[in-house]
Structure formats: C-alpha cells, structure tokens
C-alpha cells in the first residue's frame, strides 16, 4: 500500500503542475523581464536596474501609485464599513431562506465586470441617468459635471463592483460566532452595544481583515474602471502598466511597474495585518 500522502499528492499532481506552470513560471519571467530593457522590437537582456530607477525617479509613477493606493484604500474602507451591517443582518437576523439572501448579494458580482462598470458610466454621465433625472425633476439647470470622469466616480464604481468580495468573508465570520457566547454575555449583564463591542466585533475580525485584503489588493491594479470613467484625473497605475504593454511598447518597464506595485501592495497588506494583530492583542 503506498503511503497516504503519496497517493494524495499523486492525485493532486495534474492540478498542481498546471497551476505551478501558470503561476510560478510567468512570475519568474515577469521578474526577470523587469531587469531587462526594451530595444526597438526586441529586448536587451543584460540585467539592469534602469527600469526601477526610472520608476522611482520620475514623479508621475510615484504620484499615480499613491493615487491608486488612496483610491483603493478609500473604496475598501467605505465598502467594508457599509457592508458590515449587511453581513451582520444576514448572519443574525435572517432565519429562513438565508441562502437566497446570500445568492442575491453575490449574484451581481458573477455577471460581467465590464457591464457593471458601464452601468455606472451611463448613470453618472453628463447626459446620464442622474443628470437627466435631476434636470427632468427641475432640481438642477446644468448637468453636474463632477460626477463622471473623476476619482469619485472611480471610487463609487469600484465600491459597487467589489461589494460582494467584502460581504462574504464578513458574513462567514459572523455566522460562525457561537450564539451561546452572546447569550452568556447578556446573562452576565452586557447591553446590546457592549455585547457587540466585546464579543461580536472581535470575533468577526478575521472576516473584516479578509474582506479588506480581498478588496484592496485587486482594486489597486484595476484599469478598466479608470479607463472608462476616470478621466485624466482618475487614471490609476493599472492604466500605466497596461499602456506599457500596449501603445508605449516598453514591456520591461511595464514588468518593473507591475512588480513594484505588487511589492508595495504586499507591504501595505502586511502592515495592515500587523496593525490588526497588535490591536487584537490590546483588546483581548
């Protein structure tokens, strides 16, 4: 009888191989390419830090990266804060048809991202839904210009598009909380607010952390939303990276920017987790 781990890994091998091929090798090449330089249509493969140098020296890259972090950060915080009550409601106050609520919440998310972004474009547009509606109601004379092609448009759209990613982890965390702990707290004299702060909130923290990370990390690199409704003010680092692989045709630079972005995002994520761990130790 072959050992159990061996049989398990044998079964796992096809999947593992393909994922390794798809994840490790491209990333290795991505890292390698960031040290190359573009020469016409080919690459100069002598290793150099030139791309990273440019990325750090030219102020536009740093500015765009900071802007992307800010937009993602605001969007993530807002969505997590606004979605928490929703997750709480479904976890604690829905007794029948919980699955239907879950499905309803996640359903929009499974449909085309492009379409959902586009829906906001037509809502916020100069002649779009909000403006024409308000005009029709006689509330405004001139269309509101700040709605579209701005950073706020990007924030709103990203928040809407990624909301499901925020709700689900928090819901799972809240659902797992042992109700008897809450009853014990009540028996020991806690009111609803104290009960929430001392039992529910700390126990749901893993879900909150997961929601924050699951939303922050992908949105930093988003380029569809800024492209469709960011305008010149709302461009994010993702657009710049995409341009390097498109019109600008400087793949090594794009690789360097992508790696830089990943490192900084990872750094932010780790900092966040460290901070929350410290906070948890203080509460407990």
């Amino acid at each position: 009888m072959r050992s159990e781990p061996l049989r398990g890994y044998a079964l796992l091998t096809p999947t593992l191989l393909i994922m390794a091929f798809g994840i490790c090798i491209p990333f290795a090449i991505l890292i390698a390419m960031s040290f190359w330089t573009q020469q016409g249509f080919d690459f100069n493969t002598t290793l150099t830090l030139a791309n990273y140098g440019t990325a750090f020296e030219q102020p536009v890259y740093e500015a765009l990266l900071l802007r992307s972090l800010a937009i993602s950060g605001i969007c993530t915080i807002a969505t997590v804060v606004l979605s928490y009550p929703m997750a709480y409601y479904v976890a604690f106050h829905v007794h029948r048809h919980k699955m239907i609520w879950i499905i309803l919440i996640t359903l929009p998310f499974w449909t085309s991202y492009l379409l959902r972004v586009f829906a906001w474009k037509i809502i916020l547009g100069y002649n779009g839904v909000i403006n024409s509606g308000l005009k029709g109601l006689g509330l405004i004379d001139q269309p509101l210009e700040f709605l579209l092609y701005s950073q706020s448009a990007v924030v709103i759209t990203l928040a809407h598009a990624w909301a499901a990613f925020a709700i689900l982890p928090m819901y799972v965390s809240l659902e797992k909380i042992d109700r008897t702990l809450l009853e014990a707290a009540t028996d020991l004299g806690d009111g609803p607010v104290a009960r929430f702060l001392r039992v529910t909130l700390p126990l749901s923290l893993p879900g909150i952390i997961a929601a924050t990370l699951l939303m922050f990390i992908p949105t930093v690199g988003d380029y569809i939303t800024p492209a469709l409704l960011g305008g010149p003010d709302g461009i994010m680092i993702g657009n710049l990276i995409q341009a390097q692989f498109g019109k600008v045709n400087n793949w090594p630079m794009g690789a360097a920017l992508a790696i830089s972005m990943m490192i900084i995002v990872a750094f932010c994520a780790l900092t966040f987790m460290l901070v929350t761990r410290k906070a948890k130790e203080h509460i407990a």
């Binding site: 781990p5 079964l11 449909t111 991202y113 586009f118 829906a119 992908p218 993702g238 992508a258």
Partner: protein, 271 residues
C-alpha cells in the same frame, strides 16, 4: 435553551438598511435593460418610446455572433478543464492526509488575490517568450488558471459534505478506486460538479482582463463590447447585448448556486 432568544429580536432599522443596500446593489445594473428598450441613442431621461430595434440590430450583427461563438468555445473548454482539475485536487485535499496541505491549497487559490492585470501581463510575457502565438487557446489557459480556485472552492465543500465511510464500504466490498469513484463518489458530488461547470463557464464568459492581454485576432464577447464602446451610435446595441448576457448569467449562476447547496447539510448554530 429556546430558539427565540432575545438576541434574535427583530431589528427594523437594520432590515431597512439591508433592503436599501440590496437596492443599491441592483439598481445600477437594472438600468442596462431599461435603456436597451429605449428608442434613443442617448441614455438619458425622459424615456422615449419602447422599442425592440436595438435587439433586432444586435441579432443581425455578424461580428457579434463570431465573438459570441468564440466566447462560448473558450468558456466550455475552460469550465471542463477547470472542473476536471478541481475534482482531482478537491478529492486529494479532502480524502488524504498530506503534509503541507494548507500551503498547497493556498497556492492553488493564489489567482484569487493576484490583481488580474499582473496575471495577464505575466502570462503574456510567458507566451511571448515561449513563442506561442496569442489565440483563443491562450485565453483558455488564462481562464483555466483563474477558474481552478473557484472550482475547488465549489467542490471541496461537496467532497467534505458526505461520509467517507461510504467510499470505504465500497472498497471493502471489492470495488477498485476508479469504480468506487464512478459509482459512489461521483453521483454524490455530481451537483457540485455541475455547479462548478456552470460557475466556471460564467466566469470565463464574462472575463475581460485576461482575454484583453491574451487574445489574438479572435475576440471574445467582452472584448467585442469593449471595442463597441467607442462608438456612440452602437451604445444601445451594447446595452441590448449586455442585458441579454445579464439575464442569462443571472439564471446560470442562480441555478449553479442552488445546485451547490442542495443536499449539503448546513449546521445552524444558536439556540
């Protein structure tokens, strides 16, 4: 301990909040079908006449159908491959004690947290260095990588949800591993497999970022729509197309989620 404890008291404000939240989640998306029936190329109030002409135009659009065919082909291939790989992995992870199981699962789930643009770019570089021409096949590869985590997430609960001893009984009664799988395991995880197929199909069908970087001369439907967005007169046509896709996606995902939870016992806590 009674079921209706004072913690489970009704909370009216919270319920209102939840309903408003749901409304905000859905209303923007519902504007798409609304204006696809509107007889005007401008997406604005007040609404003009009701018309089906945008849908008629869309059905007469040959490039659109080509893109649709491409999307379907890629999505079918992706869902089959991803589910296949997911079944292997889910069975391995739930049925065997393996050292390093948690890191391995985390590794396979990585595509979920890597920004799509990074993944797309990395794969693009890989394809170009390997000299592989971009085509629907490269898109499929990208999609499979993105869908395997979802397939696993759908299948693992299914595999975990039923009793291992049934498989052991089958083995004791003389069936070898493959027959055990076919006659015992497979029928019981079948809803999960169908759910995974449907989910991966939907994800691949709607996926834009990977397709954007990895496509050759044949566009998928999202890429086609992206190209159309530049022309204002094509706008309502895109809305019509988008609305149809929305409805179909809704139905497919609803069905797959329903399948996923059917039969899996969920323990309810409290009380």
């Amino acid at each position: 301990m009674s079921e209706v404890s004072y913690i489970q008291r009704r909370n009216r404000p919270l319920r209102v909040y939840a309903l408003i939240y749901l409304a905000f989640l859905y209303i923007p998306v519902l504007f798409l079908p609304l204006f696809s029936f509107n007889d005007s190329i401008y997406v604005a109030f007040p609404l003009k006449d009701f018309t089906l002409k945008w849908y008629e135009q869309m059905f007469a659009n040959e490039p659109m159908f080509a893109a649709l065919r491409n999307s379907i082909r890629v999505a079918v291939a992706t869902s089959v491959l991803a589910t296949f790989l997911g079944i292997f992995a889910a069975k391995a992870v739930t049925r065997y004690r393996m050292p390093g199981r948690a890191p391995v699962v985390t590794f396979i789930m990585l595509p979920l947290v890597i920004p799509g643009i990074i993944f797309g770019v990395a794969l693009l570089i890989l394809m170009s260095r390997m000299g592989i021409r971009l085509s629907l096949y490269t898109i499929t590869l990208g999609h499979v990588l993105v869908c395997v985590p979802f397939a696993m997430a759908t299948l693992i609960p299914r595999f975990e949800g039923f009793d291992k001893s049934i498989e052991e009984a089958s083995a004791d009664l003389g069936e070898n591993m493959w027959w055990t799988f076919w006659r015992v395991t497979f029928p019981m995880v079948f809803p999960g497999i169908v759910a995974s197929l449907l989910l991966c199909f939907t994800i691949s069908f709607d996926e834009f970022i990977m397709a954007f970087f990895l496509s050759g001369t044949d566009p998928t439907l999202p890429l086609f729509m992206w190209g159309q967005l530049r022309f204002p007169q094509k706008l309502p046509g895109v809305l019509a197309l988008g609305s149809l896709i929305l409805v179909v996606s809704f139905c497919v995902v609803f069905f797959s989620q329903w399948l996923k939870t059917r039969g899996v016992r969920t323990r309810t806590r409290g009380g």
